[in-house]
Amino acid sequence: MSPWHWPRAPILRLARGVLWLGSLVVPGAGREAWREEWEAELWVLHRRGAGGAALMRFVLGGAVDAGREGLLMRREAMMGGSGWGQDLRMALRRLARAPGFTAITVLVLALGIGANTALFTSLRATLLQEPPYPEPERLVLVDLLYGDLEAVPDTIPWSYPKFAHVRDDLDFLESAAAYMRWNVTLAGTGDPRRVDVEIVSPGYFELLGITSARGRLLAAGEERPGASQRVVLSHRLWAERFGGDPAVVGRSVRLNGSGFEVAGVARAGFRGLTGSAELWIPQSAAPAVMDARRLERTWSHWFRVMGRLAPGTGLEAARASASALGSALTEAFPDPRGGAGAHGVALSPMGELRLNRLTRLAVSAVGVGALLLLLITAANVAGLFLARTAARRADVAVRAALGAGRARLAREVLMESLLLAGAGGVAGVALAWLGEGGVRWAVAYALDTTGSRSLQFLDPASLGMDATVLGTGLGLAVLTGLVFGIVPARAAGRADLVRDLRAGGRGGMREGGRAQGHGLRSLLVVGQLALTLVLLSGAGLMLASFSRLGDVSLGFDPEGVVAARYELGSDAGPAETRAFEAAVLERLEARPGVEAAALGVCSPVTAYCDMTGLRQLDDRRVEGGLDAPWVHTMSVTPGFFETLRVPIVQGGGLPHGLRPEDPPVAVISEAAAREFFPGIDPVGHRIGVTHSHTGERPAEIVGVAADVTYADLEEDPAPAVYFSSEQASAGWGQIFVRASGDPAHLVPAIRQAVLAVRPDLPVYDVSTLEARVAVATARTRVILGLLAAFGLTALLLSAVGLYGFVSYTVERRTREVGLRMALGADRGRILGAMTLRPFVLVAAGAAAGVAGALLLTRYLRELLFSVEPSDPLVLSLSILMLLAVAAAAALVPAFRATRVDPVRSLRSE
């Protein structure tokens, strides 16, 4: 409480209010003092009888004073005091005076940091992100092993009876659930549509801790056979297909023609463990949408099993308990064909399974590429800085002579590099932000193309520039700034005043153009060239792989063929199926623009073709149970070979007009002929395989077709056996149409042909076979694209680095060149003198790069296709490319040296 009292006059209150408001712009320390001073003056004026207008004029003047003082005090606080503010101001000024240097440095940094930030976004998404479930570290994939357990047994899915058999003995798990991918036709809400679903055992949602957005999820009671047929919708399906209807629970939908009731909607973002589910069907209700035998047969392995480790149970202890289950399974389910196959149970943490090894390797390769690029960026910028420090040497010497301490000088240089790194970081993050769409697309593409085999737990919608990514980008920037700031800062700290003042900032002639830091710059140039060569040869190897993948004989001609999937449903009998197929083919073949049409259960290069065991060759039974040879088994219409242009190399194709009761016939592939009938003509012999539609009746071989690539292009085609769908129709598969013109024009024709026969049947997965071949080479292409982009960016950066290095040398030696020319040296000699050192550096860089490439590209081996990591051609071409670009980068400034005017260069000193 003050010992004096302000009079209660309203004008005084107003005036003091203005002063109080004004004081707010004065920074903290000075605010109180400022107000006290002005109030004291106000008091005096009031006491001396100043009128209201005068008082208001006075306090408004005060407000102006407050604004001015506030600004000044802030500026003083920033620039005075710590000395860092001063450094900042100086650094800003110096950078503004060298706009070219600043722009190039920021650009180079932005490129390096942008590429790395974008990369980190995808790396984090693929490798670092935790699965989005509670306590994901306790989730384990429970795999069934089968075969010779002493050797490397196959990991196979579970059959439902086997899962049910062990479910109660899984003591080491708190809970476990089985699931399988399937797809069904959804009708009852608009046009029929094909949707991916998961058939799940009870407890699936509880296991993963998935909550419902509407209604409830499947409960344990759903297991009883014949319990009500209820399904759970994905949030996306609910939003898209049901318009987010809040009253969706209880509505009925038709799946493959059977009625189901909607039980609830899963939380947003959840697409199941297969990553693409739109709908969940309890296992008990699955017979309504699929052949019930898939669920009932002991040896029908379709399910994956996920479990949650019991609290306090470690992975190793759980593995020990799991191994005991194997023998129980073998005892309960002995190999029906008398083979020696034994069961085992293996546990793998969910986190490890999120990526297959090849994808992990691919992502790592790209990550290493990005890291190399960052190193090149840092080396490049360090080179720029060293040059700049050398150029500023006289300036530094003057400042040191005027009393600036060495620490202070070093701090200034460091501040400059941090500023540049900060600007480059911001620009880089902005670039990455722009590139985010690209990364998102790449990940979505990778998901689509690799499907459940690798990135199944990844949600592309969750990708984005969050705080971590942003922080990483800026962190990289600061790190880069420190790294490339320290070297020049130390050089500035060590400056030799007398010599530098005398040299006037230029290398003296006695030093032969060398100066402090020159050796280091040379080293940086060599390093950049070497790393660039590593990147170039990596990209070159991928390019070679890609081009060789293109040379792989596919066994068919994808050009001009469009394919679409259909599925009649489990209730369609063989006669109905045959009628459907015949009617669709008849309609398609009658269309103009259709050259040929056929149906077959499986499309080439999609890696989704069924394989079954070989059972019989002529009269000989093939023993070995599940260890027997595996073959692709497929039903096709007789026009399949013609439509896909698969050459028949021996015998003929499948005859037309076969009846189901005729003796079965088959066409086998060349691989099957080689493997099962070595050295003899297989035509006329008989072959038997497990096939749900032929049973195991052996079929007479009528011809041999060329090998078609059904699975990975990188692998040799597996043996294949083709049955006529007239004898063994499947009721689902692919419609292939070869167009005489653009196949895209035939897509509506396929839909119309199918709808004309079955108005409720959707066709889906419509694409040309060329597109499918492109998808099959996607991994190689994506890695190739990224490595090539890194390689070319690196090449550009190295060229800039070398160009800068040579330009700088030329500039420093202008006087020497002038003198030499005055003394009669010709241009050729000058050019030689100027390029000798750069060429030595390029040679050293190339040599180091070859060593580095040989060391690092080994790790690409598994990603390569029929090319060795040390392929001499690829390496030579990479070296040539580097040499060509480096030579150009060095020659341009060197040529400039030969145009030096001797008189002017000498006079300039």
């Binding site: 003050s2 010992p3 004096w4 003092a33 006290e36 001073e37 002005w38 109030e39 004291a40 003056e41 008091w43 005096v44 004026l45 006491r47 001396r48 004029r57 006075f58 306090v59 408004l60 003047g61 005060g62 102006v64 004073d65 001015r68 003082e69 000044l72």
Partner: protein, 103 residues
């Protein structure tokens, strides 16, 4: 290193301070300048170290039942600068007067 010459208003403020008008209101009265102008000059002069300021003893202010004041005084440099400025104005005005008489 010659200091920037002082303008008329600044010279007047410094002269008022030397004449014993040691805080804002008094200086305003003596120079007929507005509060804003006076303070602008006071701040600038203090930064140039031609003026220095001190806070009045709180006991004195309390005894007189009013807020504490901030008093300004000339530094040695301020004395010199003021003397130079006054001399310059005197010369200038007498030269101009002489010119006027001659004209």
């Amino acid at each position: 290193m010659s200091p920037r010459s002082l303008g008329w208003a600044t010279t007047a403020v410094l002269a008022a301070v030397r004449a014993g008008r040691s805080f804002g209101a008094d200086i305003m009265e003596a120079t007929d300048l507005s509060g804003g102008s006076v303070y602008k000059i006071l701040r600038r002069m203090e930064r140039r170290e031609l003026l220095e300021s001190r806070w009045e003893d709180a006991v004195v202010a309390e005894a007189e039942g009013r807020p504490r004041r901030r008093y300004y005084a000339l530094t040695e440099e301020g004395e010199v600068a003021l003397a130079e400025a006054l001399e310059r104005f005197r010369t200038l005005t007498s030269d101009l007067a002489a010119e006027g008489e001659a004209g």
